[in-house]
Amino acid sequence: MSRIYGWAGKVLQVDLTDETINKVPTTNYKPQEFIGGVGFNAKIFWELGCPKVDAFDPRNPLIISVGPLTGIYGPFGKGEVCSISPQCYPDELFTYSGFGGVFPAKMKYAGYDSIVISGKADGPVYLSIHDGAVEIKAANDLWGVDTFETQKVLMNDEPEASVLAIGPAGENLSRVAVILSETKFAAGQGGFGAVMGSKNLKAIAVRGTGVVEVAKPDRVMELARIIMEENEKLIPRLRSIFRVPYTAPQETRDVFARKYFKKHYGCYGCPQQCHSIHHIPGIGLSGVSCADWLWAPTFSIDPKEIWEANVLSQRLGINTFEGIIGLPFLLALSLRSGILTSKEIEEDIDLPTPKWLGGTATNHEFLTALLGKIANGESPYAGGTARFTEHFGKRLVSGKKLVELYEELYTARGYVFHHVDNLGSALHWATDTRDPIDSCHDYKNPSFPEANEHFGLPRYDSYQIVDLTKTVYQGAERVAAWVEDNQCLKNSLPVCEFWSMMPNFYRPPGMDIRIFESSMLSAATGLDMDADQLAKAGERIWNLRRAIMVKRENRTRENDTLNEPYFRKAITCLAGSATGLVNGPIDKAKFEALKDRYYDLRGWDVDTGWPTRAKLEGLGLDDIADELASIGRLPEVPS
């Protein structure tokens, strides 16, 4: 490829141990096949040999990629982080986390499709990127500084830089530490903030003064108009829902809307700007979106307490899903169901108990104690809810019951429940390396049955678990496979979760989400890639991810499952207001039969769940098939 459009053209490789900086052509990683984002991250990780090391080993690479559409007008503003995850439980798995904001576009304008960081610096450093000038700089003064203040310092030193930073939680190797940009954009799940911390890497500051060159600017302009029109349809759905704490009572919502809401904000170049900024004097200004509001109503409906929970976790660099939703929920439900007493929480677990934990402490006291322990790396709090439960499960009288409750709330691999309310989603949870939260809305399209049918999928209401009388296991495998491939594409092109759903851009037969994406990719890159070829790229990336699981993590069919309670009882779920919605149980035998059909559909071996040579070669992954064969993990083909 003599000239490259769409992609920035270079992959930046930084080794913090040797202090070496290399730039290699993006074309080394077959961009037309692996697209970008998680596709690149997986390809790069595969080329590095899928190291079987711990998450905090210097040899664990932290890989950040954008995609060919990043930096273009539209819902393309995110980047993807992949690494071996300290949050995954019980085993640390290679997984992914997306983040929005301005950093991804700036990284692209600076000339990089991917940044690969390995090694470990001697002392605190940050990575300074100003177009082609890349330097590892001392960050001693920033160690211990929170995420907001770190960014302010770096933006002062490097005007107009966009920064990815960790807070004390990442420095102290908390397994639920995030990598944060601005006030709200985080690579949240995965605990990748701690991977940065383990490398003594406090931040990455990027300044990019280049541009994205597209192959067909006129076509991009035509598609921009379609995006603008689609945006008008989405605005009422996104901006208005997440502007206020939608799970809190009306009066709390009104206070935020009237007194504290400042404006919307979001990713660079996107017309949706679906996040919102609020400012409460004395607590501070920060950004917020969907899940950040979920502290309400269970723990508080007081606006200041809701806001403090957010701002504190963002400044400390803690995953809100764990620190202010997951673990507090586990404790609250433990108390409610008689597993723990208030006294045990106060004395054995050593946390102040506010009213909802049966005590008299304030929420402020609870939050500062819990988030403080997490940020300080104090065991077992900083290990995430999974490791916290394992620890106290062995020490408390009703520890066994505590573990059982955890297994209900944390569906699989140490990740908290979110939308496991239909069989397609349950199967996706079973086959991924973390919670597939960035695809949960794909499984929630009850109002658009015609879109399901357009893509050859069963109607939504047939594969729900919510209503057992209607549950049909047949066909859920097709839904999961479609969404998994869709997930790979949206995390590679990239396209925002909220825009990549089936009903969006839905104007059949000429336009649907896949046609839109392939049109934009073709216009940006000049590659002639139609919707079917693009869908195949999604499947290719999912297969590559599976190959990594098989090679590095010895993944087999046995591992493709959910925690045991999901097959035994109804689960009280955490979604939305954290009340009601009782699912399940999933019929174990039928679920196993569903897996049979899924592997068959995927072209994988039904006994092992390993991809077959025929499937891998069909996707152009011959070298991967050879490698899996050489380690004895390519299924034997019956002759």
């Binding site: 930096g71 273009i72 007008y73 301005v102 576009a105 304008y109 907001f148 960014q151 302010k152 107009e160 601005e182 006030t183 990019g208 003064t209 280049g210 541009v211 994205v212 060159e213 597209v214 600017p217 991009v220 302009m221 921009a224 603008m228 945006n231 400042k262 404006k263 919307h264 904000y265 979001g266 990713c267 660079y268 170049g269 996107c270 017309p271 949706q272 700007q273 900024i277 400012h279 200004l285």
Partner: protein, 178 residues
Amino acid sequence: MTNRKAPLFAVSCSLLAVAINGGKRSLREIPKAALIVHDPKMCAGCGVCEVMCSLYHEGVLGPALARSHVVRQPFTAEHSRDTCQQCSSPSCYSACPLKDKAMRIDQTTGTAYVVDDGCTGCGACVDACPFDPPRISINLQKNVASKCDLCRERQAGPICVEYCPFQALKIASKDRRG
């Protein structure tokens, strides 16, 4: 002095513009001597104006080649935007050694605009701009000056105004500045 007053003009003009035209106007309706005003209260700092400007004028995407510049302030949410203030007697035009060849005045809108074929990229216009930072810059890829010309050849008017997701950009008549 001039640049200190600019934000005040911008705010007052934008309020006026909301009252007068509700935001969108086609090119035919743009009055002579108009300017694009930015309402910092509405602006989300999203950069849509920058990417659409660079796409329309240069066929690429990125703030580096946009003719306006958003200064995003994530920790205050008070974003500002630097663009040509469409001076009545443009210093850039006066300073141009190839006046009426490299830089001309649009007879419909009164904006000074650069003709790429005539411009040598000497930078005299950049030095002459009374604003800090200058609202005209050199496009280093083409080595020509680059400034907002209100999308003078675009039927639907300035693309940034049309695409702004928050109607934070408005066309205002300079007559109203008094």
